[in-house]
Symmetry: C2
Subunit: 182 residues, 2 copies
């Protein structure tokens, strides 16, 4: 699939998944896509755990309670370490977001659906830490996001977005904020 | 270009650029790719300004002093607003990082090179604010990154990355951290 088409067609899928397993070769391609993302000062702050063992998936879903996409036959857990890139700055959020975006595109290119699930597991109840503990992840790593992976059992819907001219301009901010020049 | 190939072949380019202008149609496709990225609770916190006017580019480069990729015939400036997605949380960093990654892939798919330049303009000297002021950007927006766009005049080099088995695993963190099972 052409990269520009993939980018324009990607959507967050929150419906049910078909039970068919995701082959390891596909999961590896998705993980490699994530790791190929750039990272601030090349610190490679992102690590990944793909889960395709039904028993492990079931235990993770118990933690998620009313998690998104519990029926997915695979899940990718995104781990980060707040490594300093230079001076006192870490770009770990940028790093894992870029890796996630690569993986969402790779997932779609391979015919699967997914959804970026982050806020639900990084809130005060710290479900991400519980998931990390279940997976044996050391304390210096934070589990910040999971991506379900599988084939959609329902129709994929796209959310509407603001028009281009309200978010992008050439050579300067529009003089009048309602300016629709693009 | 196939999306998986694009993802695996992308590299940060810090060399000189050929002077040939980037057609508006290509810049629009790149901007659209950025805006197509997901955002936390669909808050669409990202806005973009593409600069292809040589006079504006020259003024921006004066601010950058020893900026990366000053010879690029176009530049995309990434703006963010810290809009709350829910409770007290904003996902603006994730949002703009995903948009940037989409744009880097689109830039590459169209035959251009680029580099994610963020730390240099968001440090204490706040060059990003000076760039934003020059572009007439209101105070509620922050200019956090720029992407040069153009054809490479030099060879594109890739930085080495850690092996897959040191960053990705299946169904749990490896028991021994030096485990190389993948």
């Amino acid at each position: 699939m052409n990269v520009l088409d993939s980018i324009m067609q990607r959507a967050s899928y929150r419906g049910a998944y078909l039970p068919a397993p995701v082959p390891r070769a596909d999961l590896e391609q998705i993980l490699k896509a994530g790791l190929a993302a750039p990272s601030g000062c090349n610190k490679q702050t992102v690590s990944l755990i793909a889960v395709d063992d039904p028993a492990v998936l079931a235990r993770l879903c118990k933690i998620l309670v009313s998690g998104v996409s519990e029926s997915a036959p695979a899940m990718i857990c995104v781990l980060t370490r707040k490594i300093i890139a230079y001076r006192d700055r870490s770009f770990y959020v940028q790093d894992y977001a870029a890796a996630i975006q690569n993986m969402l595109l790779a997932i779609m290119a391979l015919g699967y659906e997914s959804c970026w699930v982050e806020g639900q597991i990084t809130d005060k109840d710290r479900l991400g830490r519980k998931m990390a503990d279940l997976l044996g992840v050391p304390a210096e790593y934070e589990l910040v996001c999971y991506l379900p992976v599988g084939r959609a059992a329902e129709t994929v819907k796209r959310v509407p977005k603001k028009p281009f001219a309200q978010r992008a301009w050439f050579n300067g901010f529009p003089g009048d904020k309602t300016d629709t020049e693009a």
